[in-house]
């Protein structure tokens, strides 16, 4: 009996010692890094957007964070580790990978997918699992109506009606453009830009005399370009992805079609386009964006760091500064929250202002702060860019312009 009592006491003692410690250990697992997952197009047709847009920016941001020792979470600096899966530019694969990252890999945070349609499909999914979803490449025109129901979603990039097409219409009208021809891809990106143009151009007195949809990633657009040429429009707007942007530029030059204004994108905002076509051919061609070293000293410093890490040829003059500023907001929100809890980080991102390369930066939230948000338009460094003497200048809105002049009409194509 005495022996039994002794055993019981020992078991009790051990239980008291071990179980509280175990429970304490589980609730206070010490993290030694922050794992951020993303499904990105490392292959397939969208890779050329991802590789030149958010891809290098998030890598550079993670490297810079880690060089500083990591993100300060409640007094402890945690380095960042990116867990990137290749979605092969396939929408179904991309959304499946988002769920894998959340449910199987149990990543701490998510980074965005690439392109408008992928953003539209993935944002509600991330929101369902209460993961902060910072947008990158892709517009939110269609997503905007859903934002009040998506409190974890933060749109970072500017896009068609926020406020590129309204600004573009102002720029074109100021130069005397009366008619426009539009070529757009029949996916969500093209459709959003086309619809924005329908309303904005009409509102500001520009008549759309031709509009044709082409399949995404079309390479042969000569016939459609001839229709645009025959329409006699002052401006040609091509709301297409880079392979088709290249086709529009190259084939328009090859058939000698040089409209007075040419607005293309995404595509011409990438520095590598200058490498392919040369500055003379791009002279006067407009695109979206936009920022450059003249936008602000902070942006100039960011550009210098980017070029040092990568190269000038990898620069994206549309989204690069937006994405980096978004990541700075995200980093500062984690530090302020002092935790990796997505809900607390989300609440801080929704309420606070942050000091980023764009200056004072904040998100305009929907549903009185209870819904998702968009990077405030006051923070945007520009909406419309134009190649002038080998530089991608900001030409709209006027208060953000980095040059006084807008080239119009676009010069004729250089001799081959």
């Amino acid at each position: 009996m005495k022996h039994l009592k002794f055993c019981f006491c020992i078991i009790l003692l051990v239980s008291f010692v071990i179980f509280p410690i175990t429970a304490w250990s589980e609730s206070k697992v010490e993290k030694d890094k922050i794992v951020i997952g993303a499904a990105r197009p490392l292959s397939g047709p969208l890779a050329q957007i991802g590789d030149f847009a958010m891809g290098p920016i998030m890598t550079m941001w993670a490297e810079e964070v880690n060089a500083r020792g990591g993100i300060n979470v409640a007094g402890k600096k945690l380095p960042v580790e990116l867990l990137i899966y290749d979605d092969t530019s396939d929408l179904g694969t991309s959304t499946r990978l988002i769920e894998k990252l959340i449910l199987e890999d149990k990543v701490d945070f998510l980074f965005p997918n690439c392109s408008t349609a992928f953003l539209y499909a993935s944002a509600p999914l991330a929101n369902k699992y209460k993961y902060v979803y910072l947008g990158a490449e892709g517009g939110c025109t269609t997503l905007t109506a859903m934002l009040p129901e998506l409190p974890y979603v933060f749109g970072v990039l500017n896009y068609s009606d926020y406020y590129q097409i309204p600004v573009l219409a102002d720029v074109l009208v100021a130069k005397g453009v009366k008619t426009a021809a539009i070529i757009y891809i029949n996916d969500l990106h093209g459709v959003e830009y086309y619809h924005s143009s329908l309303s904005e151009f009409m509102k500001k007195g520009i008549t759309i005399v031709m509009a044709e949809a082409v399949p995404p990633f079309s390479e042969d657009v000569e016939l459609v370009l001839k229709a645009a040429r025959d329409s006699g429009a002052d401006a040609l707007c091509g709301y297409v992805y880079p392979p088709t942007t290249m086709a529009v530029l190259g084939q328009a030059a090859a058939i000698g079609y040089s409209p007075k204004a040419m607005v293309l994108g995404p595509g011409v905002n990438f520095e590598f386009f200058k490498g392919i076509f040369g500055p003379q051919m791009l002279e006067g061609v407009m695109g979206f964006g936009a920022y450059n070293s003249k936008s602000s000293p902070e942006i100039a410093d960011f550009i210098a760091r980017f070029i040092k890490r990568w190269e000038l040829g990898a620069m994206d003059w549309w989204g690069g500064a937006f994405y980096f500023a978004g990541l700075q907001c995200f980093e500062k929100a984690i530090e302020k929250a002092g935790t990796l809890d997505n809900t607390r980080v989300r609440d801080i991102m929704a309420k606070e202002h942050f000091d980023t390369i764009l200056g004072d930066t904040w998100f305009d939230m929907t549903a009185g702060g209870e819904g998702g948000g968009l990077l405030a338009k006051e923070c945007h460094p520009g909406q419309v860019g134009q190649w002038q003497n080998g530089e991608y200048e900001v030409v709209g809105p006027t208060d953000k312009a980095t040059t006084d002049q807008v080239i119009y009409p676009k010069p004729a194509w250089p001799a081959p």
Partner: protein, 290 residues
Amino acid sequence: MNLVTVLDIFIGGVLIGGIYALIAMGLSLQYGVSRVLNVSHGEFIMLGAFATWVLYTSLGINPLISLVIVGPIIFVIGYLLHRTLFRSLFKSSPSLPAFEGSSLLATFGILYIIQNIAIITWGSSSKGYTFLASPVNLGGAIFSANRLLTLGFAIGIGVAFYVFLARTRMGKAIRAAAQDPDAAGLMGVNINQVLALCFGLGTLLTGLAGVLYSMCFSIQATMGLGFTIIAIIVVVLGGLGSIPGSFLGGFILGIIGQIVTYFEPSLSLAAYYIIFILLLLVKPTGILGK
């Protein structure tokens, strides 16, 4: 629709059709004689295009000269692939249908290997260069000089290849091997050599199509699969195993694509698949098939 528009559509279709014709002839040869349904076929147009781009942008070599540099290299790759991989598969397969199945799977592997090497080497972004990008007026319709040149070379290469098959001793051996490989072997034709030669010639034609394609369009490391699908459609359109049928089918598909593009550009890709399904339902033997 005025005459200029008709010319735009017709000549525009013929221009892209020339590229389709070359790749389809290559696939037709590989399947018709070597019995390999080469799913990685489009990767060789990508290789030809990228090799030309590298030669032009790095060494300043004229793309027309690249035809005689890139073509033989791609021929050797195809020839060696057959002499090693497919020959080995042929030996280990108990029957011809078994070989066709295993070689089809092998070409899937080749597709991913070539594509991934290309992505690692050249990245995933579009590449391109401008070559003879100037307008030429043909009866009021304007076309780019590089595309007209491409058409000329595509027709020249196609006709030269047909003459090679029809008039030369080796061509006769190839045709004999296509009709009855066993009988051709008994008559003294070195079957292994001929089958490898056909596979190599198939990659050669596709590689040359890649050289020509790069003169007019941007190129990507992942562009191959789309061309394989187009080549299969053209081969079915022209008639399985018929080289002239593939040549003709390429131009027909190009013209149909342009007609659809004129009326509804967003349906141009869908039209190819609709043609494919209709052909299988209505005339599975194709235009010149037996």
